[in-house]
């Protein structure tokens, strides 16, 4: 069983983007995604695409590797595009029953395709360039203010990192149990779905028992090493903003401002055009 695949899709290399503070990447990705949803015209997407291409070049992850991440979502993208092409009302170019292709349909389909591609690539850049560990650290730091309203931020981050640590161990264990049950004559490849689900019970039960045992062992070991919650804890790698992080925030600001400017100008132009249309009629 390939246990590495489950540990996120981190791509090991050394680049500026890799070295950025995880908080910058989290905030940046979020802002970028929001920016894609606010403005819906080709000029803004062009700016967004240029921004993303610069980041792609900077992060030194091969493009082919990045596009692999798009594969599972290909079907979803195809669906949205087809639906938009065939079911958007407007100026019909072709019609057959309830199916029709309209100018507007093609336009929205293209825009949506661009938007989805940008969205997914931007999200995958974050996971490709940040280890799950740093990501958890970043989340913990970002959400730290929520501690004031008694959200257990540290505990949640700790749970996340422990879960990540135990995924490969439990995968291995599942594999062992599967083999043990197969050796005793259990069949996991029955064609009938109900039989297949039933045959999973003797795998899941021992897996849970072992997971609980491990959890209690781990809790003991953590306590023995003086773990007493997040209070007064220091870090081997504390998150500290460096010059490059501040600079990235500045770039992000410039991106948002220019995007907003283009978006507003574009909206005004189309408004003027619409008024001109009405006036000329």
């Amino acid at each position: 069983m390939n246990t590495e695949a489950t540990l996120g899709q981190y791509y090991q290399t050394d680049s500026v983007i890799h070295r950025l503070d995880p908080r910058v990447k989290l905030v940046g990705t979020l802002l970028y995604m929001i920016s894609l949803f606010i403005f819906n015209n080709i000029f803004c997407y062009a700016i967004a695409a240029v921004f993303l291409i610069v980041v792609i070049i900077l992060c030194r992850v091969p493009l082919t590797h990045m596009l692999k991440g798009l594969r599972p979502i290909l079907i979803l993208m195809l669906f949205t595009v087809i639906f938009n092409i065939f079911f958007t009302p407007g100026e019909y170019l072709w019609q057959f029953g309830i199916l029709h292709i309209s100018k507007e349909g093609i336009k929205t389909a293209i825009l949506i395709l661009i938007r989805l591609t940008l969205l997914i690539i931007s999200a995958s850049i974050m996971t490709l360039t940040t280890t799950p560990n740093r990501l958890t650290d970043g989340l913990e730091k970002l959400f730290a203010p929520l501690k004031l309203i008694k959200v257990p931020v540290h505990e949640m981050a700790m749970m996340m990192s422990i879960a990540l640590r135990f995924i490969p161990i439990l995968m291995e264990e599942t594999d062992k149990i599967l083999k043990a049950q197969t050796a005793r004559g259990a069949g996991f490849d029955s064609k009938k779905l109900t039989t297949r689900i039933k045959s999973l019970i003797p795998v899941i039960v021992p897996l849970f028992i072992s997971a609980f045992r491990r959890a209690s062992d781990l809790a003991l070991a953590m306590e023995a090493r003086c773990y007493h919650g997040g209070e007064g804890r220091t870090k081997l790698y504390p998150l500290k903003y460096a010059a490059r992080d501040i600079l990235s925030y500045v770039f992000m600001g410039i991106y948002i401002i220019s995007l907003t400017a283009v978006g507003i100008i574009n909206a005004k132009i189309s408004l003027v055009n619409a008024i001109a249309d009405i006036v000329s009629k």
């Binding site: 246990t3 280890t131 799950p132 560990n133 990192s161 422990i162 990540l164 640590r165 490969p168 161990i169 491990r214 062992d217 781990l218 003991l220 070991a221 953590m222 306590e223 023995a224 090493r225 003086c226 773990y227 007493h228 007064g232 804890r233 220091t234 870090k235 081997l236 790698y237 504390p238």
Partner: protein, 281 residues
């Protein structure tokens, strides 16, 4: 200076039936009196259910005596306020290497203890490298623990405790899940710690071979200390040891049988070399 002093320590597990009524009381520890001097290498031998692990958990203040008192470096282990200090003084290594490694990267795991203690970042770095160097795992510091052998994982666990700078390390059957090569690795690391760093070692095990190098051995049986003495004193009492369901090392056993048959061999033989010397004389 006594690092560990145990006076009439008794611990009872209370068995309850389904209605929560006391069904029976199981004395896991029965009047244990035991002193350990600073810098000693102590082994506690015992078969399954002899109470040796229960005793180990008392030293780390995970369990507290029902009766009697246990002092670690002068601190009473039932004193709630001193728990963290006690755990910093007496570190603990457990049996299953997988269930006590918390970090996803080795250096982060070793840093877990110092982080909990609130050590400064620069100092954590120093302690981690030093601890990993002591157990010979410095080259692996950036690796994932999932790719290590059992012996290596256990050495990382020892480093994790070492980085807390304890005066004493308690190891609860650290080799039970390892292959012979891993077992040797761990024991060698422990001897080096005791010799070079002068750290008090309390090794809890049921493998007699591992106790040969200790300063003193305590043999436990049914919650009581049944025998106490240097390895040579203990290993001559082959018949008694067998009564306690302990397995005598092959070489000692062979020498014992030969001596019984009338050969002129010294009373207690611990290593192959000793027996060879004795036979060739």
């Amino acid at each position: 200076m006594k690092i560990i002093k145990s006076k009439d320590v008794t611990f009872e597990y209370i068995k309850r039936d389904e209605n929560g009524e006391v069904e029976g009381i199981n004395k896991a520890l029965d009047n244990i009196n035991l002193d350990v001097k600073e810098g000693e290498f102590i082994s506690i031998l015992g078969a399954n259910g002899s109470g040796k692990s229960t005793f180990a958990k008392h030293i780390n203040s995970i369990l507290m005596p029902t009766e009697g008192t246990l002092w670690v470096d002068g601190m009473d282990t039932s004193d709630e306020d001193k728990i963290l200090d006690i755990r910093m003084t007496a570190g603990m290594v457990f049996q299953n290497p997988d269930n006590q490694i918390i970090g996803q990267v080795i250096e982060e795991d070793v840093a877990f203890g110092p982080e909990n203690m609130g050590v400064e970042t620069a100092q954590i770095r120093e302690r981690v490298d030093e601890a990993l160097k002591t157990v010979g795992m410095l080259d692996y510091k950036k690796n994932s623990p999932n790719k290590l052998s059992g012996g290596q994982k256990q050495r990382v666990s020892i480093a994790g405790v070492l980085a807390m700078h304890p005066k004493c390390i308690v190891l609860d059957e650290p080799t039970a899940m390892l292959d012979p090569a891993g077992r040797k690795e761990v024991i060698r690391a422990l001897r080096a710690l005791n010799d070079v760093e002068k750290i008090t070692i309390i090794l809890i095990t049921h493998y007699m071979e591992e106790t040969i190098y200790s300063d003193r051995i305590f043999v436990m049986n049914k919650g009581k200390i049944a025998m106490e003495g240097t390895p040579r004193e203990i290993f001559t009492r082959v018949e008694e040891l067998e009564e306690f369901r302990l397995e005598i090392p092959q070489i000692t056993r062979l020498a014992y049988e030969l001596r019984k048959e009338g050969m002129r061999i010294p009373e207690c033989v611990l290593t192959i070399k000793e027996l060879c010397d004795a036979l060739s004389r």
